[in-house]
Amino acid sequence: MVTEILASGGGGDSSGSHRPRGVIARGLGRSYGDAAQRAGGVVIDTGCFDSIGPIEPATGLVAVGGGASLDELIRRALPLGWFPPVSPGTRYVTVGGAIAADVHGKNHHRDGSFCSHLTGLTLVTPTGTRSVSPETDAELFWATAGGMGLTGVVIAATIRMTRVETSWLSVDTGRFDDLDDVMAVMEASDDRYRYSVAWVDCSPRRGGLGRSVLTRGDHAPPSALGSSQRKAARAPLSEPRLRVPLPAPRGLVNRWTVRGFNELWFRRSPRRECGALQPLGSFFYPLDGLGDWNLLYGRGGLLQYQFVVPAGRADVVRRAVAMTAEGGVPSSLAVLKRFGPADPGPLSFPLEGWTLALDFAVGPPELASLLDRLDELVAAAGGRVYLAKDARLRPELLAVMYPRIPDLANVRRRVDPDDVLRSDLSQRLGLDGEGLDG
């Protein structure tokens, strides 16, 4: 079916002078941007490719469908002692989506991004179905990694899972009054932890800038568990117990509620704590614990801005936090992390250095221009923004941030010469057809 749709160019009805408006795949629709939608075109729901094969006990290799979610994969794998090698901030993403965005997790500084842990994938392109691996067709494989679905529809992939003995994490927590302090500690000792992430308070505050809570940890061995945890050593993930029933009124997320929330979050975090045991779900997916949390942002919705800058440019992170604090636009959630080396994907986001993700409620009129200024800062520092979360980047900056876009164009000319694979994102940023050639 997917093969036929792509082969026909998505144009069931090609009457009239207007050419069909393209085809793009969509998984669970959780990404914040417009990469998995296509106005006036065909959007393929990949939900039917949800198979999960047996996990090879010796190697941890598992064949999964492109539409299978990490949630289902974890449910299947965790009781057997396996966990996805890379896990983003929500488990409600499909494997295909994780590949298309080349997602990263709290372990990027050690383990790299999602596609570094694949042995191969099956891609339906407008010119046929291909089995692609880094060995057989490195060009196509890596263009697909982070390629935002513009090289084809991922219907299957083989993932190398990580061995875990329990569903608990042993976590060290520390509180810092200034951004420089937390960044220095991350730089010095992140290598000792598999997972590391810092929460940053971007509210304007007298004294230090960007006070932070750093949490770092690793999967806990059975020996670290107490008697109560041992009973639930391989407990499955818990379902969200609370749900936001309906969209909050506009303006619930404002500078006062944000400041209050930040204050609370900072104070409830331990100043210094070592080896605390935390269930896997709340460590990796704190937001998944509250169903439909996005409704808290009201009908205006939320916008997430994530950028990365090279390792030497910690100053840009500090500047960005300062601009957010001064800009009068409250960032409700800010998350800082160190990335390890990039993988070879021309559109893959991670870059060795610092990444900062900022959540905003849409509404304040200054937000659009603040983000435009941040773009300039990031681009000038040799950094880039995350396309999976983008719906507003100035198109002119795309080629500055992703200088290897011509590599993607070459691959697309080979597998999609008629420019069938298009999305709102590719249209907006000029990533398809004419935009790429020009």
Binding site: R21, R38, A39, V362, A368, R392, P395
Partner: protein, 254 residues
């Protein structure tokens, strides 16, 4: 394609030589808009407006001429505009209009027909065709310039106001029928705006400039307001004015 803040990348302006359109195009080009198609009657004025759009940052600027008294030209004009924009149009601005200055003109049948054509029949026809194109595109926005005179007209603007009232009603009905199609229709109801169209007229109270209109429309677009009043409080003022007894209405200045 609109971005997360509703900022369009390509715009078609029907009535591209108006000052309000000029102010809007300048604002749009300062944002994300790179493709601008200006349609109007006066070739020289169009060339001037196109030059300003280029200077403002638009990289693709095209002009299309049309005659609003020729109803048959509406579809062709829309088609030419969409073609000039590369068949991807995020925003259609309908600023075409003609203000009759004096009461005496309202006895002139040709004038009545001309005002009705420029303010209602031609734009309504063009909007209908544009809506079809945007529906096929699966997304897009039409911003239709009505007037407070469409809500209740002063004696000096009776004819203009009646035609705008028809356009206003047409646009709000179309907005309803396009719900769920990805196409949004919004109505702008400015009060008195200082432009060449109103030059020589006595300004009504709360008069604004074209830049004020542009700013209000941009805000209205970001918030998907069904009706954008300029200035905003006219919404509440006209809530009262539209129900004012005739004797009181007749005594109001302006």
């Amino acid at each position: 394609m609109d971005d997360a803040f509703g900022r369009p990348q390509s715009v078609v302006v029907l009535g591209g030589t108006s000052e309000i359109a000029g102010a809007l195009v300048a604002t749009l080009a300062a944002g994300r808009c790179r493709t601008v198609v200006l349609a109007g009657r006066d070739v020289d004025a169009l060339a001037g407006a196109a030059g300003r759009a280029r200077a403002g940052g638009a990289s693709v600027v095209e002009t299309v001429t049309f005659d609003a008294t020729d109803l048959k030209s509406a579809q062709d004009t829309v088609d030419r505009c969409f073609a000039a924009a590369g068949n991807q149009v995020d925003l259609v601005l309908v600023t075409v209009g003609l203000l009759n200055g004096s009461r005496s003109e309202t006895t002139d049948a040709d004038r009545i027909s001309e005002v009705a054509a420029a303010n209602f029949t031609w734009p309504a026809s063009a909007i209908a065709f544009a809506a079809e194109r945007l529906r096929a595109q699966g997304s897009g926005r039409i911003v239709v310039f009505s007037s407070v005179a469409a809500v209740r007209a002063r004696p000096a603007t009776v004819l203009y106001g009646s035609a705008k009232a028809a356009l206003d009603r047409f646009a709000s009905g179309l907005a309803q029928s396009l719900r769920g199609s990805g196409v949004v229709v919004q109505i702008v109801r400015p009060g008195f705006v200082h432009t060449k169209m109103t030059r020589g007229l006595r300004p009504a109270p709360f008069a604004v400039g074209p830049e004020d209109v542009a700013a209000a429309v941009m805000r209205g677009i970001e918030r998907d307001q069904a009706i954008i009043w300029v200035p905003g409080f006219l919404r509440w003022l006209y809530l009262v004015l539209r129900h004012l007894p005739r004797q009181l209405w007749a005594r109001l200045p302006g």
